[in-house]
Amino acid sequence: MARKEKEYHRLASARMTFGMRVSLWRGRDHLLKVTSSNFTEDYRRFYFKDIQSITILKTNNGFGWTVVMAILTVLCLVIAFAIGGMGGAIFCVIVISFLVLILAINVALGPTCKCWIRTAVKSERIESLGRLRKARKVLAALRPFILEAQGELTAEERAAAEAQQPESPAVSQAPAVATPFVEKLLVGIEQEDPFPHPAAQVSVAQPATVVAPEIAPAAVPPPLVVKTPCCLPAFCLLILEGLIAGIDIAAHGAVMMVVENIMVSALAIMAIIALARLPHLGITARVRSTLIATMIFLFLQIFVGTIAMMVLVAAHHPPMANDQWEMLKWCSRQSVLKTPFLLGLDLTVMVIDLLLGLYGLLALARFRRLTEPPQALPAIPPAPPRQES
Protein backbone atom coordinates (compact mmCIF):
# COMPACT_ATOMS: atom_id res chain seq x y z
CA MET A 1 0.00 0.00 0.00
CA ALA A 2 1.37 3.39 -0.97
CA ARG A 3 2.22 5.57 1.98
CA LYS A 4 0.04 8.67 2.27
CA GLU A 5 2.04 11.81 1.59
CA LYS A 6 2.24 14.27 4.47
CA GLU A 7 0.18 17.40 3.97
CA TYR A 8 2.41 19.55 6.16
CA HIS A 9 6.12 19.44 6.79
CA ARG A 10 7.54 21.02 9.91
CA LEU A 11 9.93 23.92 9.27
CA ALA A 12 10.37 25.19 12.81
CA SER A 13 9.41 23.46 16.03
CA ALA A 14 7.15 25.07 18.61
CA ARG A 15 8.53 28.03 20.51
CA MET A 16 6.95 29.40 23.67
CA THR A 17 5.87 33.05 23.59
CA PHE A 18 3.63 34.50 26.33
CA GLY A 19 2.09 31.14 27.18
CA MET A 20 1.49 30.24 23.55
CA ARG A 21 3.35 27.77 21.38
CA VAL A 22 4.07 28.91 17.85
CA SER A 23 5.30 26.58 15.11
CA LEU A 24 5.82 26.88 11.37
CA TRP A 25 4.82 24.34 8.73
CA ARG A 26 5.11 24.11 4.96
CA GLY A 27 2.07 23.00 3.00
CA ARG A 28 1.66 22.24 -0.71
CA ASP A 29 1.10 25.86 -1.72
CA HIS A 30 1.33 27.79 1.52
CA LEU A 31 3.14 28.37 4.76
CA LEU A 32 1.20 27.65 7.95
CA LYS A 33 1.83 29.42 11.23
CA VAL A 34 0.20 27.52 14.10
CA THR A 35 -0.38 29.20 17.46
CA SER A 36 -1.45 26.77 20.19
CA SER A 37 -2.96 27.89 23.47
CA ASN A 38 -5.63 26.57 25.86
CA PHE A 39 -6.52 23.47 23.82
CA THR A 40 -7.03 25.48 20.62
CA GLU A 41 -4.90 25.96 17.55
CA ASP A 42 -5.04 29.16 15.48
CA TYR A 43 -3.90 29.02 11.91
CA ARG A 44 -2.40 31.72 9.70
CA ARG A 45 -1.73 30.80 6.09
CA PHE A 46 0.71 32.59 3.80
CA TYR A 47 0.31 31.44 0.23
CA PHE A 48 3.62 31.22 -1.61
CA LYS A 49 2.27 33.33 -4.47
CA ASP A 50 1.42 36.17 -2.04
CA ILE A 51 4.70 36.41 -0.13
CA GLN A 52 6.41 39.65 -1.09
CA SER A 53 9.41 39.57 1.21
CA ILE A 54 10.96 37.87 4.21
CA THR A 55 13.02 39.96 6.63
CA ILE A 56 15.38 38.55 9.23
CA LEU A 57 16.63 40.96 11.89
CA LYS A 58 19.56 39.87 14.04
CA THR A 59 19.00 40.58 17.74
CA ASN A 60 21.20 40.48 20.85
CA ASN A 61 18.80 38.63 23.16
CA GLY A 62 20.72 35.36 22.96
CA PHE A 63 23.94 37.13 23.74
CA GLY A 64 22.34 38.83 26.75
CA TRP A 65 21.31 35.44 28.12
CA THR A 66 24.83 34.14 27.59
CA VAL A 67 26.28 37.03 29.62
CA VAL A 68 23.72 36.56 32.41
CA MET A 69 24.34 32.80 32.58
CA ALA A 70 28.12 33.27 32.51
CA ILE A 71 27.99 35.79 35.38
CA LEU A 72 25.71 33.52 37.43
CA THR A 73 28.00 30.56 36.80
CA VAL A 74 31.08 32.51 37.94
CA LEU A 75 29.18 33.74 41.01
CA CYS A 76 28.15 30.17 41.91
CA LEU A 77 31.75 28.99 41.46
CA VAL A 78 33.00 31.68 43.82
CA ILE A 79 30.27 30.93 46.37
CA ALA A 80 31.16 27.22 46.20
CA PHE A 81 34.80 28.13 46.77
CA ALA A 82 33.92 30.42 49.68
CA ILE A 83 31.56 27.98 51.41
CA GLY A 84 33.99 25.13 51.28
CA GLY A 85 31.67 22.57 53.01
CA MET A 86 30.50 19.37 51.31
CA GLY A 87 26.75 20.16 51.37
CA GLY A 88 27.17 23.64 49.93
CA ALA A 89 29.61 22.39 47.32
CA ILE A 90 27.19 19.68 46.13
CA PHE A 91 24.38 22.22 45.89
CA CYS A 92 26.60 24.64 43.95
CA VAL A 93 27.75 21.89 41.60
CA ILE A 94 24.11 21.04 40.82
CA VAL A 95 23.26 24.71 40.19
CA ILE A 96 26.43 25.25 38.13
CA SER A 97 25.71 22.14 36.01
CA PHE A 98 22.22 23.41 35.30
CA LEU A 99 23.50 26.89 34.40
CA VAL A 100 26.30 25.52 32.22
CA LEU A 101 23.79 23.28 30.41
CA ILE A 102 21.54 26.26 29.62
CA LEU A 103 24.58 28.30 28.61
CA ALA A 104 25.85 25.54 26.31
CA ILE A 105 22.43 25.11 24.67
CA ASN A 106 22.14 28.87 24.17
CA VAL A 107 25.62 29.09 22.63
CA ALA A 108 25.04 26.02 20.45
CA LEU A 109 21.79 27.43 19.04
CA GLY A 110 23.62 30.54 17.86
CA PRO A 111 22.56 34.18 17.61
CA THR A 112 18.91 35.16 17.94
CA CYS A 113 16.75 36.97 15.42
CA LYS A 114 13.27 38.21 14.59
CA CYS A 115 11.60 37.28 11.35
CA TRP A 116 8.73 38.82 9.39
CA ILE A 117 6.81 37.71 6.35
CA ARG A 118 5.27 40.45 4.26
CA THR A 119 2.29 40.02 1.96
CA ALA A 120 0.27 42.64 0.08
CA VAL A 121 -2.03 43.21 3.07
CA LYS A 122 0.08 42.71 6.18
CA SER A 123 3.44 41.99 7.70
CA GLU A 124 3.39 39.11 10.18
CA ARG A 125 6.01 38.20 12.74
CA ILE A 126 7.08 34.55 12.72
CA GLU A 127 7.89 33.89 16.36
CA SER A 128 9.02 30.32 15.82
CA LEU A 129 12.04 31.52 13.84
CA GLY A 130 13.96 32.87 16.80
CA ARG A 131 17.47 31.74 15.86
CA LEU A 132 19.39 33.21 12.98
CA ARG A 133 20.79 29.93 11.71
CA LYS A 134 17.39 28.28 11.69
CA ALA A 135 15.73 31.29 10.05
CA ARG A 136 18.25 31.34 7.22
CA LYS A 137 17.89 27.59 6.75
CA VAL A 138 14.11 27.92 6.54
CA LEU A 139 14.45 30.83 4.11
CA ALA A 140 16.72 28.76 1.87
CA ALA A 141 14.23 25.89 1.99
CA LEU A 142 11.28 28.13 1.13
CA ARG A 143 12.89 30.16 -1.65
CA PRO A 144 12.43 27.59 -4.47
CA PHE A 145 8.77 27.05 -3.54
CA ILE A 146 8.02 30.78 -3.51
CA LEU A 147 9.85 31.43 -6.77
CA GLU A 148 8.09 28.49 -8.42
CA ALA A 149 4.67 29.72 -7.25
CA GLN A 150 5.25 33.33 -8.29
CA GLY A 151 6.59 32.65 -11.76
CA GLU A 152 8.29 35.08 -14.07
CA LEU A 153 8.05 38.85 -13.90
CA THR A 154 6.18 40.59 -16.69
CA ALA A 155 7.87 43.36 -18.64
CA GLU A 156 6.09 46.00 -16.55
CA GLU A 157 7.05 44.37 -13.27
CA ARG A 158 10.60 43.99 -14.47
CA ALA A 159 10.70 47.69 -15.33
CA ALA A 160 9.45 48.50 -11.81
CA ALA A 161 12.18 46.33 -10.33
CA GLU A 162 14.81 47.99 -12.52
CA ALA A 163 13.56 51.42 -11.48
CA GLN A 164 14.13 50.42 -7.85
CA GLN A 165 17.86 50.54 -8.44
CA PRO A 166 19.74 53.40 -6.75
CA GLU A 167 19.91 56.40 -9.02
CA SER A 168 23.34 56.52 -10.52
CA PRO A 169 24.14 58.16 -13.84
CA ALA A 170 26.52 55.39 -14.79
CA VAL A 171 23.86 52.74 -14.17
CA SER A 172 21.30 54.58 -16.23
CA GLN A 173 23.81 54.82 -19.10
CA ALA A 174 24.29 51.07 -19.21
CA PRO A 175 20.83 49.62 -19.89
CA ALA A 176 22.05 46.52 -21.70
CA VAL A 177 23.60 45.02 -18.57
CA ALA A 178 21.31 43.17 -16.21
CA THR A 179 21.45 45.02 -12.90
CA PRO A 180 22.57 42.81 -10.02
CA PHE A 181 19.51 43.47 -7.86
CA VAL A 182 17.02 42.36 -10.53
CA GLU A 183 19.12 39.30 -11.28
CA LYS A 184 19.06 38.38 -7.59
CA LEU A 185 15.34 39.03 -7.41
CA LEU A 186 14.72 36.66 -10.26
CA VAL A 187 17.08 33.84 -9.48
CA GLY A 188 17.35 34.04 -5.72
CA ILE A 189 20.62 33.36 -3.94
CA GLU A 190 22.74 30.41 -5.00
CA GLN A 191 19.97 29.07 -7.18
CA GLU A 192 19.99 28.13 -10.79
CA ASP A 193 18.37 30.75 -12.97
CA PRO A 194 14.77 29.56 -13.45
CA PHE A 195 13.73 32.79 -15.16
CA PRO A 196 16.48 33.80 -17.57
CA HIS A 197 16.76 37.54 -17.92
CA PRO A 198 16.21 38.74 -21.53
CA ALA A 199 18.80 41.47 -21.12
CA ALA A 200 21.39 38.92 -20.06
CA GLN A 201 20.51 36.77 -23.06
CA VAL A 202 20.90 39.76 -25.36
CA SER A 203 24.33 40.53 -23.98
CA VAL A 204 25.45 36.96 -24.73
CA ALA A 205 24.12 37.13 -28.29
CA GLN A 206 25.85 40.42 -29.07
CA PRO A 207 28.59 40.52 -31.69
CA ALA A 208 32.13 39.89 -30.48
CA THR A 209 33.29 43.44 -31.09
CA VAL A 210 30.93 45.00 -28.54
CA VAL A 211 32.80 46.28 -25.51
CA ALA A 212 31.08 45.68 -22.20
CA PRO A 213 30.18 48.99 -20.56
CA GLU A 214 31.89 49.94 -17.34
CA ILE A 215 29.83 48.99 -14.30
CA ALA A 216 29.43 51.88 -11.94
CA PRO A 217 30.55 51.53 -8.33
CA ALA A 218 27.75 50.71 -5.90
CA ALA A 219 26.12 53.72 -4.30
CA VAL A 220 27.54 54.30 -0.81
CA PRO A 221 24.95 54.95 1.91
CA PRO A 222 25.68 57.98 4.10
CA PRO A 223 27.86 57.13 7.12
CA LEU A 224 26.08 56.63 10.42
CA VAL A 225 27.29 59.15 13.01
CA VAL A 226 26.86 57.71 16.51
CA LYS A 227 29.02 58.70 19.47
CA THR A 228 29.74 56.63 22.56
CA PRO A 229 30.84 59.17 25.17
CA CYS A 230 32.47 57.94 28.40
CA CYS A 231 32.25 54.30 27.31
CA LEU A 232 35.98 53.83 26.74
CA PRO A 233 37.00 55.37 30.11
CA ALA A 234 34.32 53.31 31.87
CA PHE A 235 35.58 50.01 30.44
CA CYS A 236 39.22 50.96 31.11
CA LEU A 237 38.32 51.81 34.71
CA LEU A 238 36.57 48.47 35.00
CA ILE A 239 39.73 46.60 33.98
CA LEU A 240 41.78 48.74 36.38
CA GLU A 241 39.31 47.96 39.16
CA GLY A 242 39.74 44.24 38.42
CA LEU A 243 43.50 44.56 38.64
CA ILE A 244 43.27 46.49 41.92
CA ALA A 245 40.99 43.79 43.32
CA GLY A 246 43.69 41.26 42.39
CA ILE A 247 46.38 43.32 44.12
CA ASP A 248 44.09 43.70 47.15
CA ILE A 249 44.18 39.93 47.68
CA ALA A 250 47.94 40.01 48.18
CA ALA A 251 48.33 43.41 49.83
CA HIS A 252 45.17 44.24 51.74
CA GLY A 253 45.21 47.45 53.75
CA ALA A 254 43.56 50.78 54.47
CA VAL A 255 45.11 52.46 51.41
CA MET A 256 43.88 49.73 49.08
CA MET A 257 40.37 49.96 50.55
CA VAL A 258 40.27 53.72 49.99
CA VAL A 259 41.59 53.38 46.42
CA GLU A 260 39.09 50.64 45.69
CA ASN A 261 36.17 52.68 46.99
CA ILE A 262 37.24 55.73 44.96
CA MET A 263 37.52 53.53 41.88
CA VAL A 264 34.05 52.04 42.40
CA SER A 265 32.52 55.52 42.83
CA ALA A 266 34.26 56.87 39.72
CA LEU A 267 33.24 53.81 37.75
CA ALA A 268 29.60 54.14 38.82
CA ILE A 269 29.50 57.83 37.80
CA MET A 270 31.18 57.08 34.47
CA ALA A 271 28.83 54.17 33.71
CA ILE A 272 25.75 56.31 34.51
CA ILE A 273 26.95 59.13 32.21
CA ALA A 274 27.80 56.65 29.44
CA LEU A 275 24.40 54.95 29.72
CA ALA A 276 22.53 58.26 29.71
CA ARG A 277 24.35 59.58 26.64
CA LEU A 278 24.46 56.36 24.63
CA PRO A 279 21.87 56.48 21.82
CA HIS A 280 19.22 53.78 21.98
CA LEU A 281 20.04 51.95 18.74
CA GLY A 282 20.27 48.29 17.91
CA ILE A 283 23.94 48.69 17.07
CA THR A 284 24.71 50.00 20.56
CA ALA A 285 22.82 47.16 22.27
CA ARG A 286 25.98 45.20 23.08
CA VAL A 287 27.75 48.21 24.63
CA ARG A 288 24.58 49.21 26.48
CA SER A 289 23.99 45.72 27.88
CA THR A 290 27.61 45.59 29.09
CA LEU A 291 27.16 48.95 30.82
CA ILE A 292 23.91 47.79 32.43
CA ALA A 293 25.64 44.58 33.59
CA THR A 294 28.43 46.74 35.04
CA MET A 295 25.90 48.87 36.92
CA ILE A 296 24.15 45.81 38.34
CA PHE A 297 27.46 44.28 39.32
CA LEU A 298 28.65 47.48 41.02
CA PHE A 299 25.44 47.64 43.01
CA LEU A 300 25.82 43.99 44.04
CA GLN A 301 29.47 44.55 44.89
CA ILE A 302 28.69 47.47 47.21
CA PHE A 303 25.66 45.73 48.71
CA VAL A 304 27.36 42.37 49.28
CA GLY A 305 30.57 44.05 50.45
CA THR A 306 28.74 46.10 53.09
CA ILE A 307 26.75 43.10 54.30
CA ALA A 308 29.90 40.95 54.42
CA MET A 309 31.66 43.58 56.49
CA MET A 310 28.75 43.86 58.92
CA VAL A 311 28.43 40.08 59.26
CA LEU A 312 32.16 39.65 59.87
CA VAL A 313 32.30 42.43 62.47
CA ALA A 314 29.12 41.22 64.18
CA ALA A 315 30.57 37.72 64.38
CA HIS A 316 33.96 38.75 65.78
CA HIS A 317 33.37 42.01 67.68
CA PRO A 318 29.62 42.59 68.31
CA PRO A 319 30.08 45.94 70.17
CA MET A 320 31.94 47.38 67.14
CA ALA A 321 28.90 46.90 64.86
CA ASN A 322 27.52 50.32 65.79
CA ASP A 323 30.66 52.27 64.89
CA GLN A 324 31.19 52.35 61.13
CA TRP A 325 34.63 53.93 61.27
CA GLU A 326 35.84 51.20 63.63
CA MET A 327 34.32 48.60 61.37
CA LEU A 328 36.27 49.94 58.36
CA LYS A 329 39.50 50.02 60.33
CA TRP A 330 38.97 46.47 61.56
CA CYS A 331 38.25 45.26 58.01
CA SER A 332 41.38 46.91 56.62
CA ARG A 333 43.46 45.01 59.20
CA GLN A 334 42.10 41.59 58.17
CA SER A 335 44.10 39.33 55.89
CA VAL A 336 42.09 38.42 52.80
CA LEU A 337 43.97 35.19 52.29
CA LYS A 338 42.95 33.99 55.75
CA THR A 339 39.26 34.92 55.42
CA PRO A 340 37.55 32.67 52.82
CA PHE A 341 34.56 34.98 52.44
CA LEU A 342 36.70 38.04 51.65
CA LEU A 343 38.88 35.96 49.36
CA GLY A 344 35.82 34.74 47.46
CA LEU A 345 34.45 38.27 47.21
CA ASP A 346 37.72 39.71 45.90
CA LEU A 347 38.15 36.87 43.41
CA THR A 348 34.59 37.41 42.12
CA VAL A 349 35.18 41.13 41.76
CA MET A 350 38.46 40.57 39.94
CA VAL A 351 37.12 37.95 37.49
CA ILE A 352 33.85 39.73 36.66
CA ASP A 353 35.48 43.17 36.38
CA LEU A 354 38.10 41.87 33.98
CA LEU A 355 35.55 39.90 31.94
CA LEU A 356 33.12 42.81 31.70
CA GLY A 357 35.88 45.34 30.95
CA LEU A 358 37.46 43.25 28.21
CA TYR A 359 34.12 42.40 26.71
CA GLY A 360 33.06 46.06 26.81
CA LEU A 361 36.23 47.06 24.94
CA LEU A 362 35.60 44.36 22.34
CA ALA A 363 31.98 45.50 21.93
CA LEU A 364 33.16 49.08 21.53
CA ALA A 365 35.71 48.05 18.89
CA ARG A 366 33.04 46.10 17.00
CA PHE A 367 30.68 49.07 17.20
CA ARG A 368 33.35 51.42 15.77
CA ARG A 369 34.15 48.95 13.01
CA LEU A 370 30.48 48.77 12.01
CA THR A 371 29.91 52.50 12.07
CA GLU A 372 33.02 53.63 10.25
CA PRO A 373 32.11 55.06 6.84
CA PRO A 374 32.06 52.36 4.15
CA GLN A 375 34.54 52.75 1.35
CA ALA A 376 33.23 52.97 -2.19
CA LEU A 377 33.84 49.88 -4.27
CA PRO A 378 36.28 50.51 -7.11
CA ALA A 379 34.83 50.63 -10.59
CA ILE A 380 35.10 47.35 -12.45
CA PRO A 381 37.33 47.87 -15.50
CA PRO A 382 35.78 47.14 -18.89
CA ALA A 383 36.17 43.56 -20.05
CA PRO A 384 38.37 42.89 -23.08
CA PRO A 385 36.51 42.34 -26.38
CA ARG A 386 35.38 38.74 -26.87
CA GLN A 387 36.99 36.68 -29.56
CA GLU A 388 34.62 35.12 -32.04
CA SER A 389 34.96 31.37 -31.95
Binding site: E7, I56, K58
Partner: protein, 196 residues
Amino acid sequence: MSLAPTINCGQCGKALPSQLWNTGQLAACPHCADQQQVEVFPALYRKAQATAGEALLVEGESSCFYHPQKRAAVACENCGRFLCALCEVEFAGRRLCPACIESGKSKKKIKNLETQRFLYDDLALALTILPIILGFFPTIVTAPIALFISIRHWNSPTSVLPRTRIRFVLAILIALAEIAGWTLFAYFSFFKGRGH
Protein backbone atom coordinates in the same frame (compact mmCIF):
# COMPACT_ATOMS: atom_id res chain seq x y z
CA MET B 1 2.80 57.86 -11.28
CA SER B 2 3.59 54.55 -9.59
CA LEU B 3 5.27 54.43 -6.19
CA ALA B 4 8.23 52.07 -5.89
CA PRO B 5 7.65 49.41 -3.22
CA THR B 6 9.71 49.75 -0.07
CA ILE B 7 10.87 47.41 2.66
CA ASN B 8 11.20 48.88 6.12
CA CYS B 9 13.85 48.12 8.69
CA GLY B 10 12.61 45.73 11.37
CA GLN B 11 14.19 47.84 14.10
CA CYS B 12 13.84 51.55 13.20
CA GLY B 13 11.00 51.23 10.67
CA LYS B 14 12.73 53.38 8.05
CA ALA B 15 12.95 52.31 4.41
CA LEU B 16 15.88 50.08 3.56
CA PRO B 17 17.75 50.90 0.35
CA SER B 18 17.36 48.32 -2.37
CA GLN B 19 21.10 47.59 -2.38
CA LEU B 20 20.50 45.66 0.82
CA TRP B 21 17.82 43.41 -0.68
CA ASN B 22 18.60 39.88 -1.79
CA THR B 23 22.25 40.08 -0.85
CA GLY B 24 22.02 36.63 0.74
CA GLN B 25 23.71 37.84 3.90
CA LEU B 26 23.19 40.17 6.81
CA ALA B 27 23.58 43.86 5.98
CA ALA B 28 23.53 46.89 8.27
CA CYS B 29 20.59 49.31 8.05
CA PRO B 30 22.00 52.76 7.11
CA HIS B 31 19.70 54.44 9.68
CA CYS B 32 20.16 52.28 12.79
CA ALA B 33 23.00 49.94 11.67
CA ASP B 34 21.06 46.86 12.77
CA GLN B 35 22.03 43.70 10.93
CA GLN B 36 19.30 42.21 8.78
CA GLN B 37 18.71 40.06 5.75
CA VAL B 38 15.94 40.99 3.34
CA GLU B 39 14.70 38.58 0.71
CA VAL B 40 12.38 40.09 -1.88
CA PHE B 41 10.21 38.07 -4.26
CA PRO B 42 8.52 38.98 -7.57
CA ALA B 43 5.14 39.42 -5.80
CA LEU B 44 6.43 42.73 -4.43
CA TYR B 45 6.11 44.22 -7.92
CA ARG B 46 2.86 42.49 -8.81
CA LYS B 47 -0.32 44.54 -8.73
CA ALA B 48 -3.69 43.05 -7.76
CA GLN B 49 -5.78 42.47 -10.86
CA ALA B 50 -9.57 42.71 -10.76
CA THR B 51 -11.39 41.42 -13.81
CA ALA B 52 -14.91 42.53 -14.64
CA GLY B 53 -17.09 39.89 -16.31
CA GLU B 54 -17.70 40.22 -20.01
CA ALA B 55 -21.17 41.40 -21.06
CA LEU B 56 -23.47 39.00 -22.97
CA LEU B 57 -23.18 39.43 -26.71
CA VAL B 58 -25.57 36.80 -28.11
CA GLU B 59 -29.06 35.96 -26.88
CA GLY B 60 -29.17 32.48 -25.34
CA GLU B 61 -25.47 32.46 -24.40
CA SER B 62 -24.66 30.93 -21.00
CA SER B 63 -24.73 33.61 -18.35
CA CYS B 64 -23.38 33.96 -14.83
CA PHE B 65 -25.66 32.62 -12.07
CA TYR B 66 -25.16 35.75 -10.00
CA HIS B 67 -24.94 38.28 -12.85
CA PRO B 68 -27.38 37.29 -15.61
CA GLN B 69 -26.15 40.08 -17.91
CA LYS B 70 -22.54 38.75 -17.84
CA ARG B 71 -21.14 35.93 -19.92
CA ALA B 72 -20.28 32.70 -18.06
CA ALA B 73 -16.57 31.95 -18.01
CA VAL B 74 -16.34 28.81 -15.88
CA ALA B 75 -18.51 26.42 -13.87
CA CYS B 76 -18.12 26.09 -10.11
CA GLU B 77 -16.28 22.83 -9.44
CA ASN B 78 -18.40 22.20 -6.35
CA CYS B 79 -22.00 23.10 -7.26
CA GLY B 80 -21.73 23.43 -11.05
CA ARG B 81 -23.15 26.94 -11.27
CA PHE B 82 -21.98 29.04 -14.19
CA LEU B 83 -19.79 31.94 -13.12
CA CYS B 84 -18.49 35.08 -14.78
CA ALA B 85 -14.87 36.16 -14.41
CA LEU B 86 -15.85 38.41 -11.51
CA CYS B 87 -17.53 35.67 -9.45
CA GLU B 88 -14.99 32.95 -10.10
CA VAL B 89 -12.71 32.40 -7.10
CA GLU B 90 -9.66 30.23 -7.53
CA PHE B 91 -8.95 28.60 -4.21
CA ALA B 92 -6.64 25.73 -3.32
CA GLY B 93 -6.40 24.70 -6.98
CA ARG B 94 -10.18 24.70 -7.50
CA ARG B 95 -12.52 27.20 -9.12
CA LEU B 96 -15.41 27.86 -6.78
CA CYS B 97 -18.31 30.28 -6.47
CA PRO B 98 -18.54 32.68 -3.47
CA ALA B 99 -21.51 30.74 -2.01
CA CYS B 100 -19.60 27.45 -1.98
CA ILE B 101 -16.63 29.14 -0.32
CA GLU B 102 -18.90 30.68 2.31
CA SER B 103 -20.68 27.40 3.03
CA GLY B 104 -17.36 25.56 3.01
CA LYS B 105 -16.05 27.96 5.62
CA SER B 106 -19.13 27.82 7.84
CA LYS B 107 -19.47 24.03 7.62
CA LYS B 108 -15.70 23.53 7.85
CA LYS B 109 -15.63 21.58 4.63
CA ILE B 110 -12.71 23.49 3.15
CA LYS B 111 -9.73 22.78 5.34
CA ASN B 112 -7.67 25.72 4.10
CA LEU B 113 -10.29 28.23 5.26
CA GLU B 114 -10.28 27.09 8.86
CA THR B 115 -8.56 29.50 11.19
CA GLN B 116 -9.08 27.70 14.48
CA ARG B 117 -9.62 24.20 15.83
CA PHE B 118 -10.38 22.93 19.29
CA LEU B 119 -8.19 20.05 20.40
CA TYR B 120 -10.46 17.63 22.28
CA ASP B 121 -7.67 15.07 22.65
CA ASP B 122 -5.49 17.59 24.51
CA LEU B 123 -8.42 18.49 26.75
CA ALA B 124 -9.18 14.84 27.55
CA LEU B 125 -5.55 14.11 28.36
CA ALA B 126 -5.25 17.23 30.53
CA LEU B 127 -8.40 16.22 32.43
CA THR B 128 -6.80 12.91 33.33
CA ILE B 129 -3.28 14.07 34.15
CA LEU B 130 -3.61 17.55 35.73
CA PRO B 131 -5.85 16.40 38.64
CA ILE B 132 -3.22 13.80 39.58
CA ILE B 133 -0.66 16.58 39.94
CA LEU B 134 -3.08 18.83 41.83
CA GLY B 135 -4.16 16.05 44.19
CA PHE B 136 -5.87 12.80 43.35
CA PHE B 137 -9.37 13.68 44.61
CA PRO B 138 -10.59 15.75 41.60
CA THR B 139 -10.20 12.65 39.41
CA ILE B 140 -13.47 11.30 40.78
CA VAL B 141 -15.15 13.95 38.59
CA THR B 142 -12.60 14.53 35.83
CA ALA B 143 -11.97 10.88 34.89
CA PRO B 144 -15.57 10.17 33.73
CA ILE B 145 -15.64 13.55 31.92
CA ALA B 146 -12.35 12.72 30.14
CA LEU B 147 -13.70 9.29 29.19
CA PHE B 148 -16.90 10.85 27.82
CA ILE B 149 -14.99 13.48 25.80
CA SER B 150 -12.64 10.86 24.37
CA ILE B 151 -15.48 8.63 23.17
CA ARG B 152 -17.76 11.48 22.04
CA HIS B 153 -15.05 13.26 20.02
CA TRP B 154 -13.14 10.21 18.80
CA ASN B 155 -14.08 11.09 15.21
CA SER B 156 -14.11 14.88 15.58
CA PRO B 157 -11.43 16.67 13.57
CA THR B 158 -8.37 17.48 15.64
CA SER B 159 -5.40 19.48 14.43
CA VAL B 160 -4.80 20.08 10.73
CA LEU B 161 -1.21 19.06 11.38
CA PRO B 162 -0.08 15.43 11.27
CA ARG B 163 -1.41 13.92 14.50
CA THR B 164 -2.42 10.46 15.70
CA ARG B 165 -5.12 9.53 18.25
CA ILE B 166 -2.55 8.54 20.85
CA ARG B 167 -3.76 11.29 23.20
CA PHE B 168 -7.31 9.92 23.11
CA VAL B 169 -6.00 6.40 23.74
CA LEU B 170 -3.87 7.55 26.68
CA ALA B 171 -6.75 9.61 28.09
CA ILE B 172 -9.10 6.60 27.93
CA LEU B 173 -6.57 4.28 29.56
CA ILE B 174 -5.68 6.70 32.36
CA ALA B 175 -9.34 7.61 32.93
CA LEU B 176 -10.26 3.90 33.15
CA ALA B 177 -7.41 3.31 35.60
CA GLU B 178 -8.59 6.22 37.75
CA ILE B 179 -12.19 5.01 37.69
CA ALA B 180 -11.00 1.50 38.58
CA GLY B 181 -8.97 2.98 41.45
CA TRP B 182 -12.00 4.81 42.82
CA THR B 183 -14.17 1.68 42.47
CA LEU B 184 -11.66 -0.40 44.43
CA PHE B 185 -11.38 2.35 47.01
CA ALA B 186 -15.19 2.41 47.41
CA TYR B 187 -15.34 -1.39 47.61
CA PHE B 188 -12.71 -1.68 50.30
CA SER B 189 -14.00 1.32 52.23
CA PHE B 190 -17.65 0.39 52.42
CA PHE B 191 -18.19 -3.29 51.78
CA LYS B 192 -15.07 -4.66 53.46
CA GLY B 193 -15.34 -2.10 56.23
CA ARG B 194 -18.93 -3.13 56.95
CA GLY B 195 -17.93 -6.83 56.98
CA HIS B 196 -15.40 -6.20 59.76
